[in-house]
Amino acid sequence: MASAGTEINITPQIAAEHGLTAGEFARIQKILGRDPNITELGIFSVMWSEHCSYKSSRVHLKRLPTRGTHVVQGPGENAGVVDIGDGLVAVFKIESHNHPSFVEPFQGAATGVGGILRDIFTMGARPIAVLDSLRFGPITPGAAAGNATPEEIARNRRIADGVVRGIGFYGNCFGVPTVGGEVVFEPCYSNNPLVNALALGIARKEELFFARARGEGNPVIYVGAKTGRDGIHGASLLASAEFSEESQQKRPNVQVGDPFMEKLLLEACLEAMRTGAIVAIQDMGAAGLASSSSEMASRGGMGIEMDLDRVPQRETGMTAYEMMLSESQERMLLVADRGRERQVFDVFHKWGLDAVEIGRVTTDGKLRLLHHGKVAAEIPAHALAEEGPRYERPIAKPSSADLERSAAFRVKPIEFAPAGSDLTPNFRKLLASPTIASKSWITEQYDSMVRTNTRVGPGAGDAAVLRLKESRRALAIKTDGNGRWSWISPRLGAMHAVAEAARNVACTGARPIAATNCLNFGNPEKPEVMWQFTEAIDGIAEACRALETPITGGNVSFYNGTLGNPIYPTPILGVLGLIEDADCALGSGFRNEGDLILLLDANPAAASAGHERAEFSSSEYAKTIHGIVAGAPPAIDLNAEKNLITCLVELAAGKAIVSAHDLSDGGLAVALAECCFDSADDSGACLSAEVEMSRQEAPAEATLFGERGARAIVSLPAASLARAMAIAAKYSCSVQRIGTVIRGAFRIQYNGTSAILGEVSSLREIWSETLAKALESA
């Protein structure tokens, strides 16, 4: 099907091979008033694919809040834009590259990073940070790994290794710091890893660029890498269908990345934009030339005519079909002011890049393609970009084993260890579990410092903090998402994703101002998956409203699953925060021996309501220690989350605390250990903690490892205690003074007996070694 002449008679069968339904094919015939030729069919098939058209999700995405005081540009452009003061805007977006990364981990991940970077600089912003949200299958054996086979583990290791190398390969060469993200390992991702890449850029507000073609007769200019046959149908076949046994054969559909070319393209684009000769610009991502041309024309209410003979080509004899559908990387399409195109060419030639006028803007609203002197395709641009099918897919709450399992669990809860038990062995096991273990083996393979703005880098804080050389302010950014919780309760899981990302951002002292989301789900043609999706949307909408973090853009990735086994529904949220004074940015590690350790809890009522016991079975501890995934995620109180966030921001701005770390995977005990580990000095020696909690009614495990939200650990010198207490009281945050930062053994006393005790250096070693041991020789 890949290459075909225009003489082929288009049958419904050929349309079906392109992933188009009979109804969609009929619609195409109606729009054109005739049968499409093969080129037109190909263009429709990619533009109307799930990946490009959002046909299953659009009706639901409308429910997300997209407006707010900071929002300059919401969803609909290449990336979201928010005002960060001083005449600057932050441009950011997250996007998935899941299927390519399974088929070819290195190139799939690399081009995922490349694609999201182009989305940022096509708007005139210079990328200043990348984060990656990664989900892999188990890389260590055991019950918590769903008893994965050795072959499965070996393959997961290869995938994780390839993805990490690919991300590093692209970002390191391009020159953008990869500053964070998260990595989670769960059995459900064995046959469908998730690779979501988020990029953040900065621009002056008045220098933003948009992808709206204007001006009849203006030249349409192709810049960047030449077009080859790679990636044809990446969007429609790879990203818009589930995997089967034959998925490995789709390797030719994965694109190949050239970060050096992208670096040149970045510099040339930003320099060309400064000439003032560029009217509109869009990158060629999914569906390449087809999407960039039709979307720019459609957004500007214009048409575009292109002569494909002039497209720079890497291979000979390419058909119109192949050129329009190629997903060769590192290419851009732009519209220049007629008469000033020379200025544009000069800049691109200076950087050694192709820049060729391949067409012009017209007023007839059509995408018209000429090839070998003949019209190869003529389609209303608006029909391609905006009139794709929109489905209200059937929705059904699952009556499946999933829900039964969680219900069954509630009848027979986890047997907690008797009071006074030594929990140290379980604690050590938890620290060594891949999801909780240190990610430094991964993050050290990324250049996290280039551009010298990284104030809080990987492993140093709850979110990455980037200073702005042009301003006193700094930006904090973090991604989060808990697939396990979203599987048990999609709505609650999605709300937690928003809350956790926002809380992490606030722990660095930043006020959350906007969000981006990447919605990773299974097959939308299954009513249960659509139920998960709509529930998650409603959860995100509610949480983003409450936390005042409007969604400015993002991406939906359906069809995540292989052989009918879907992944956990995994909404990933990226939250951006603003710090008024970069010098107030906080890390997560303890700072000084003798400082007090406080537990801030904005929802103390939840502690006494017995929730912890009921919610415990959905925790990382329950999974790792007992092999149980069930129950309900912790209840969420968005008002409490908002209070905690505001409280943390004020504590940081007033320099009342010196570190802050939220409670998440592994609960209080793991969070305390991380505060110690993150304090490591140059010689690797780290501070420790002596913590005592008494008169607690809940079992020790529930208190120490429960994962209820709206809580954070902060440390401060005793002299600041009164000031911190006053601020916390303003926001109804309870303050529990639980211990002291010390040097020596890490110790948690619970109701008078020792619950956890270990040398901090040996605990850190367990936590540090897991990933290297599993992945070093992958």
């Binding site: 020159g175 050096f260 670096k263 393979q445 010298t452 990284t454």
Partner: protein
Amino acid sequence: MKFGVVQFPGSNCDDDAYHAVGSVIGQPVDFIWHQSENLSGYDAILVPGGFSYGDYLRTGAIARFSPVMRSLDRFAKSGGLVLGICNGFQILLEAGLLPGAMLRNQGLRFLCRQVHIRVENTDTPFTCAARPGQILKVPIAHMEGNYFCDPETLAALERNQQILFRYARPDGSIAPDDRESNPNGSLAAIAGICNRERNVAGLMPHPERAAESALSSADGLVILRSMAESLARREPARVSA
């Protein structure tokens, strides 16, 4: 006194070097395009980090043939100060301005982390502001930083005190076989060297990333300050190239 920062296609630490010289130590600085054949008017040239020409073949292998390298060679021969950082060091090695070569890191992976280096010789324009044996905390970020040379070259480097920096433990001890302190496996834990004439130097760690304490270390500044101080002593005898 004037600094120049070379820009090759694919340089990506050029802005950082420019910022450290211009904004942090406050010296005049220009970018120099890779096709420039004229370096007159400059006193010190920084060859910054990055992936010149993509470095797909071998680090620095293409960059050494660019026009600016011909003028850099003349500039160096007439006594101008040249400092290569990371990819800049690799390029100076390829160009023969410094002896030796870079192998892939021992672990065959890209490594970005803070390391410690010990100043081995303070009698050079790149280290004159440092204390003998001073320990600097400066980050590395590279895939090919495993310095290597033949025994004769190593002996000559030692004899002529051309080794400027070695990877060290935080306490200053040197352990070439210790992956923790010498993470890329460099021969004799060499992190930076200079030529016999002491006016061309290269190092793998990034002093321009350790120029502000807000970014976790300002130890790298001593290298840039050394250059500025030694140039200040030289003036007004400006090099011509």
